[in-house]
Symmetry: C2
Subunit: 337 residues, 2 copies
């Protein structure tokens, strides 16, 4: 590994000139620039970005912490953030938290220890209070796909209330009147918001949501399977169920299959997220799409704006809207009346 000093010597100039030739070409004479370039090529010199960062106090790096990488949900957001950042010449460095509160906390810290100029956090496990404390401690942080009241300016999130309402509206439009739901973990704000929106819309239409038909899941298919079984075995009749994630719907479908219940003829299902899984399920899942890639990109933009203290902080889109993606898992009762 050649250093800048060696290049300088080889080119017969000072290290400062080499540095300028590389970073501020307009400040240096063409002739010397050529000499420097020649030396750089001859030695295969590559600037040490770490030293550069130390000296200039700017690392051009932004960190991101997620639960895990092995899921399309997180991966898609990271992809979005990475591309957005690449466009402005920043690098993204990712760290996973291992789905533990201590992991989230330490990853958050550690990224700043590495001189990230800002960090994007997808906090799943940390409580609202803990997140608030960390947001105070690290002002250059942005929350990805999470709303923390009081920190709206540093949050990129989906309007989950409207997402839930969308699901309800679709079901109502198709003539459903007896509706069940399998939510996410009660402690997750997304789950709570989706449920609120869902209930409100139903209520507004004079269709109450029976508590006995409201099940708490955890966004995973295994538990969803159990919940759907319970639903199917309960005496309460229903024609549709709103699943708060596509994976939840996958578990529910499996339960229906085992019970010999047809979808959508007997029971209609609507999911949430619209990850790849949704279109591979059978029947193809009607779902509420979350623009994950865009949410990731916005997080990247916001983090960059915060890092550089640019006024763009205000102009980046922070709230995203869910959209319905109609496929084949919801029966239309209004068609054959």
């Amino acid at each position: 590994m050649a250093t800048i000093a060696q290049v300088a010597q080889h080119a017969g100039v000072s290290t400062a000139t080499v540095s300028r030739a590389l970073n501020k070409p307009e400040m240096v004479d063409d002739a010397t620039k050529a000499k420097v370039r020649a030396a750089v090529n001859a030695l295969g010199y590559r600037p040490n970005q770490v030293a550069k960062g130390l000296a200039s106090r700017c690392s051009r790096t932004i960190g991101v912490v997620v639960n895990q990488f092995g899921s399309a949900y997180y991966g898609t957001m990271i992809d979005g953030a990475e591309h957005a950042l690449r466009n402005v010449g920043y690098k993204l460095i990712a760290e996973s938290s291992g789905e533990a509160a201590t992991g989230e906390r330490s990853a958050w810290q550690s990224l700043f220890d590495r001189q990230c100029e800002a960090v994007i956090v997808h906090a799943d496990v940390l409580s609202e209070n803990e997140v608030a404390i960390l947001m105070e401690q690290h002002p250059k942080s942005v929350l990805m796909n999470r709303l923390l009241p009081g920190y709206e300016e540093r949050c990129i999130y989906l309007d989950n209330v409207r997402g839930g309402a969308l699901a309800a509206q679709h079901l109502l439009d198709k003539g459903h009147q007896a509706i069940a739901t399998i939510t996410g973990p009660r402690s997750y704000y997304e789950a709570a918001d989706r449920l609120v929106g869902f209930q409100q819309r139903l209520h507004a239409a004079g269709v109450p949501l029976d508590p006995a038909l409201t099940m708490e899941g955890n966004f995973k298919d295994d538990l969803a399977f159990d919940r759907m079984m319970q639903l199917l075995e309960s005496p309460k009749p229903f024609t549709a169920v709103f699943c708060q994630s596509d994976e939840t719907a996958a578990g529910a479908i499996e339960a229906c299959r085992q019970k010999g219940v047809r979808i959508p003829e007997d029971i209609s299902l609507i999911g949430f997220d619209d990850v790849d899984l949704a279109r591979h399920l059978s029947p193809k899942l009607t779902t509420i799409r979350q623009p994950l890639r865009e949410i990731g990109a916005a997080s990247g933009l916001l983090a960059h704006a915060i890092a550089t203290a640019s006024p763009e902080i205000k102009s980046v889109q922070k709230i995203f809207e869910a959209q319905i993606v109609e496929r084949a898992s919801v029966r239309d009762f209004t068609a054959n009346t």
Copy 2:
């Protein structure tokens, strides 16, 4: 951000002592250690890892480059690598290449520029020659899930030939005699190897693989759909198709559905990978499992061994074996004879 100098001043000692108290506690008196600790807490001091790396010339960081994050395939491997590295006190920093050769090259370089002590590369697009050149240029690199002849010691990979053979064997065991296949891109070595193993096994059993029933896909579902349509519309009869990825199988299933072809009654399907998708497909997909997490973990271990020039380089497992996961997409002709 407090610096080590401020801590030293606050504690009434030298910066060297602070450094030692933190990194080599046994070399410093208990009393002064206490003073240092107090100062650290009082100022909320956190060592700057970048400066630390510069001074000690070891960053305790390993890089990884993948095509994209938004797929479970890459994500799972990264998770494996991250956990393995975390156990040995190393950090993983990931960069995506955007599925382009220049991207792969530049990500590879850039991670070394950031003083990664080693980098793990999942090279998809780069040609064998180009990868070989880069492997020479950067001796501290390991290839993840790819075998590059001549560099076996720095490669972690699946025995794809055996994986292909496994698929063939399973089909033969179930009594299939007329078999089709939809491969990955011909230029990918995995695809070629899987096909070789598949063919050899078939050949050994006296069951030839008809070239007209061998289609080139790209591991994605869209193209697989088209290929399966072609297969279904061709005059050649067949009872099973080996899909070189689960997503390929998903596309094939869709084609069958549109054609009214039942799986596995009319046509049997076998996939490759065993990502989550496989068990959510309908019917549940019988597939060849690739231990992605383990492959990622081994890559992490090997990269760490190479970074620290430890003799463990030799002892980490480099070749992984595929396994068959039987589900419900293959018909058993031997059962009802």
